[in-house]
Symmetry: C2
Subunit: 449 residues, 2 copies
C-alpha cells in the first residue's frame, strides 16, 4: 500500500497537486467573510478564480481587487502570489529547514523538478539561493519604489505599502494591482516604469540565470562559465523582447502612437513588450491597440518567460530549440548546434511535444470558450487574448474575463495552472510509468507534410 | 557553369519553380482580352490571383468566375487546375513520354519528389497509374453527374459540361465553380452532395492510396500488404473527418441547425467536414456558422489532405506523427509505434519542422494581413479563416478576400503556393546543400518548457 502510494506520487505529480492544493486553500481564505471589504461579498467561483490567478501569478481577475478585498484579503492574495511565484516546493522545503530537519533526498528531488533543474548537485544551496535572491530583489524594489512613491502618496506608510506590493507584483510577475488602475497613473513616469521592467526581467529571466550571474561576479570563481541554458534562455528572452518593441512601434506608429512624442512611443513599446512576457501590469488600455499589435502581444504572452522562473508560456528555451531546429534544417545539417554545444535529442523531443500539446491545447481551449459563449457576444481576438494571457500567466486583459460564463473561466483556470506548472512538468505528471521497450518494431518510412 | 546549374536545380527547386512558372503562364492566359466576357476586363493582379488559386487548386477568388471569364478563360482555368491538381511534373513527364522519349533518371526523381514518394521502384508505372486514375475517376464522375444534371439543366450539352467541370473541380479539390453559387442550389440534393464528397475523398486521400487499393483488389497480388503510409494517411483522414462531423453538429445543433430535419443537419455536417479538407465547394454561406464552428473549420482546413494528393495543409501524416509522439510520451515510451511499425526518427524530425514553420508562418501571415489592412475593417476570425483556407488550399471563404488590399492578397498567394507544394518540399527547395558534419560538438542538456 505504502509502496503503491510512493509510486503514484512522482515528483511531478506532487508539484501539480501542491499547486492545486495551494489554489484551493487560498480560495477558501479569500472566501472568508473578513477577506472582503465591508458590505461586499463574492461568490466562491470568484474567490476560486482569484486564487488560481494569484497562485499561478497570472493576474487575470473577475472582480476589481482594490474595490473588493479587505486588508486580510490582500494579505491572502500576497501569500498566494509568493507561494506560486517563488515555488510551492521551495517554500515548503524552507519551512522544513526552519523547523531544523534535514532535507531528505525525495524532497530535494521535488525542488529540482519544480525549479526544473537537471543536476542534483548543490540543490540545497540552490534553494537557499533562490529564496535569498527573491527576498533581496523584492526588498530592494520595495525600498526604491516606496521611497519614490513618497512623491505620489499622502502618508509614508501608504507609499511603502504600495511600493512593497508593486515590487512583489512586478518581481513575481503576478500582475495584480491594488490601485485599481495598474500602472496607468504612471504612464509618464519613466522611472517607475523602468524599475518595474527591471523587476519583471529579474523574475522572468529564470532563477538559474540569477544564481549564475552571482557566481560570475563572485571573485571566488575566476573560471566560471555560463551554462548553455543561461546563454539560450537569456539571449532568447531579450531577442524576443527587442523584436516585440520594434514590431509594436511599426504597428502603432500611425495608430495609437500617432502624434505622440518619441519618448512616449518608446516607453509604450518597451513596457508592453516587457509586460506581455508574464508581467501583466499595464500602462494603457489594451483595447487601444491595433489588431496586429493585439496578435503580437498574444504571441509574446504565449512565448512567455524562461523555465525555472516566475513566468509561464511555452518558455524561451522551447522557442529557441524550435528555431534552432528549423535553422539546422535550412542549413542542411543534421544536428542542432548553438554556442558551441549540441542540443540533446531528448530536449528536441520535449520541445516538439510542448509545441504539439500547446497548439492542440490552445486551439481546443479557444474553441471551447467560443462554444460555451454561444452566439457571437465575444470576438475571436478577445478570446485569443485572454487565453494567451492565461497560458502565458501574463494577466493582461481586453476586459472580457469577468463577463465570461463560469465554464469558460474554468478553461482559463486550467490554462493558468498548466502555464504556471509548465507543459513539460504537467505532461510528466499525467504520464504513465516509464516502460522499457522489450523489443523493437521494424521501422517504416512515411511521407510527411 | 553547367555543373553549377545542375547543382542549383535540385528536384525540390524544380518543382517549386515549375508551379510558380505555371502560375505565371496561366495568369498571362487569363489576362488575354478574349479570356473575359464581352465588356468585362480584369486587372493583372486579379488574373494573377485567379491563376495562383487555380494552379494551387485552392478556389479562393477575387472576381466572380461565372460572371467574369469567357469560355476561353474557363478553359485556361481548367488547364491551371489540372496542372496543379495532377502535378506539374507528372503532366510534364507525360508530354515527354507521348513524344516518345525515354524518361531520364533525373526526371523520374522529379516525379518522385512531386508526388512525395520515397522509393524509386516502379516510378514510371506509378506515374502512368496516377494519370490513369485521375482520368478515369474524373470521367466516371463527369458521366454520373452529367447524366444526373439532365434533371437540372436545359440542354444535354449544358448538363454534361457542368457535370464535367463539377467532377474536375471536386476530384482535383479545386473548389472553383462556374455556376456562381457553388453547390448551394444542391443543398437538398443529397445524391449530388454524395458524389461530390466521394470525388473530394478520392482526390484528397492521396494517389499512393488509390494505387495500393487497385493492387489490393487485383487478383495478381494475393499477398498484398498496405504500406504504413496508406494505413496512417487513410485512418487519420477519416478520423479527422468523423471528428469534424460530430463537432459541427455539437456546435450548430442549437444555432444554424435549429429546427432543421435530422437529414439536413447530417448532410451539412458531412459536407462541411469533407469540403474543409481541401474541397472548397460549399452548400451554405460560411458566415452562418457560429464562431466555434468557424474555428473548427479553420482547424480542418489547416490539417488538410494527405501528402501526394491534390490537397494542401500540414497534411494528415504530420498530424498523425504529432499525436503518436504525444501518445508515446504519455505512455512513458521512447519510440513511436503504430500498426506494428516504428516511425523513423527523421520523419518525426520532419513533422516537428513542419509544425514549427507552420505555426510561425501562419501566425506571421495573419499578423501581416492585420497590419496591411490597418484599422479594424476585418475581424480576426475572417482573416484566420481566409489564411487557413489558402494554406489548406481549401478555398472556402467568409467573403473578405476580394476586399483585401493587394499586399494581403500576396500573402494569401504565398500561403496557397506553400500549401500546395507542401511545407516539406518547400523547405527542401530553399534548403542549403546538405553538409556532412566534420566533428561533433559536446552535447549539453537544457531545460525545456
Ligand atoms: K502575470
Ligand atoms: K480547394
Amino acid at each position: 500500500m505504502k509502496l503503491g502510494m510512493t509510486k503514484f506520487l512522482t515528483p511531478f505529480r506532487v508539484i501539480v497537486i501542491s499547486y492545486v492544493a495551494a489554489m484551493f486553500v487560498i480560495s477558501l481564505l479569500l472566501f472568508l467573510p473578513f477577506s472582503t471589504q465591508d458590505g461586499i461579498s463574492i461568490t466562491y467561483d470568484e474567490a476560486l478564480f482569484t486564487a488560481v490567478s494569484a497562485v499561478s501569478v497570472t493576474g487575470l481577475t473577475v472582480v476589481n481587487v482594490s474595490e473588493t478585498y479587505s486588508w486580510a484579503g490582500i494579505l491572502f492574495l500576497a501569500l498566494g502570489i509568493q507561494l506560486g511565484g517563488i515555488g510551492v516546493m521551495t517554500l515548503g522545503t524552507f519551512v522544513w529547514m526552519v523547523l531544523g530537519r534535514k532535507i531528505p533526498l525525495s524532497q530535494r528531488m521535488l525542488i529540482m523538478v519544480d525549479q526544473n533543474q537537471i543536476s542534483f548537485s548543490g540543490l540545497v544551496r540552490l534553494m537557499r539561493g533562490i529564496l535569498l535572491a527573491a527576498l533581496v530583489i523584492q526588498l530592494i524594489g520595495a525600498t526604491i519604489l516606496g521611497t519614490y512613491y513618497l512623491n505620489y502618496f499622502d502618508t509614508t506608510f501608504e507609499a511603502y505599502y504600495q511600493g512593497a506590493f508593486s515590487a512583489m507584483t512586478a518581481f513575481t510577475n503576478a500582475g495584480f494591482d491594488i490601485t485599481g488602475q495598474s500602472l496607468v497613473p504612471f504612464v509618464d513616469d519613466y522611472f517607475v516604469q523602468l524599475v518595474h521592467m527591471l523587476l519583471i526581467f529579474a523574475g522572468a529571466i529564470g532563477f538559474p540565470v540569477l544564481l549564475e550571474l552571482r557566481e560570475y561576479f563572485s571573485p571566488k570563481n575566476p573560471n566560471f562559465r555560463f551554462s548553455l541554458f543561461t546563454k539560450i534562455a537569456t539571449s532568447t528572452y531579450f531577442i524576443v523582447f527587442g523584436i516585440g518593441v520594434a514590431m509594436l512601434w511599426i504597428f502603432e506608429r500611425n495608430a495609437f502612437y500617432d502624434g505622440m512624442p518619441w519618448h512616449s512611443q518608446l516607453f509604450f513599446s518597451l513596457f508592453n513588450s516587457a509586460t506581455a512576457r508574464s508581467g501583466g501590469l499595464s500602462t494603457m488600455d489594451m483595447n487601444e491597440l491595433t489588431l496586429a499589435s493585439l496578435l503580437l502581444m498574444s504571441g509574446l504572452m504565449i512565448i512567455g518567460a524562461s523555465p525555472s522562473s516566475v513566468g509561464g508560456g511555452i518558455r524561451t528555451t522551447t522557442l529557441a530549440v524550435m528555431f534552432l531546429t528549423i535553422r539546422s534544417f535550412a542549413l542542411g545539417r543534421d544536428d542542432v548546434k548553438v554556442f558551441g554545444r549540441e542540443i540533446h535529442a531528448e530536449d528536441k523531443q520535449k520541445a516538439f511535444i510542448v509545441l504539439s500539446v500547446f497548439a492542440v491545447g490552445l486551439f481546443g481551449a479557444i474553441m471551447m470558450i467560443a462554444a460555451f459563449e454561444g452566439t457571437g457576444e465575444f470576438v475571436l481576438m478577445a478570446i485569443l487574448f485572454e487565453a494567451s494571457s492565461a497560458f502565458g500567466t501574463s494577466g493582461l486583459s481586453m476586459g472580457i474575463t469577468p463577463d465570461l460564463s463560469f465554464p469558460s473561466q474554468v478553461v482559463l483556470m486550467i490554462l493558468m495552472l498548466v502555464g504556471r506548472v509548465g507543459l513539460v512538468a504537467f505532461l510528466f505528471s499525467i504520464r504513465a510509468q516509464e516502460k522499457k521497450t522489450t523489443y523493437k518494431h521494424p521501422t517504416e518510412r512515411i511521407i510527411i507534410g
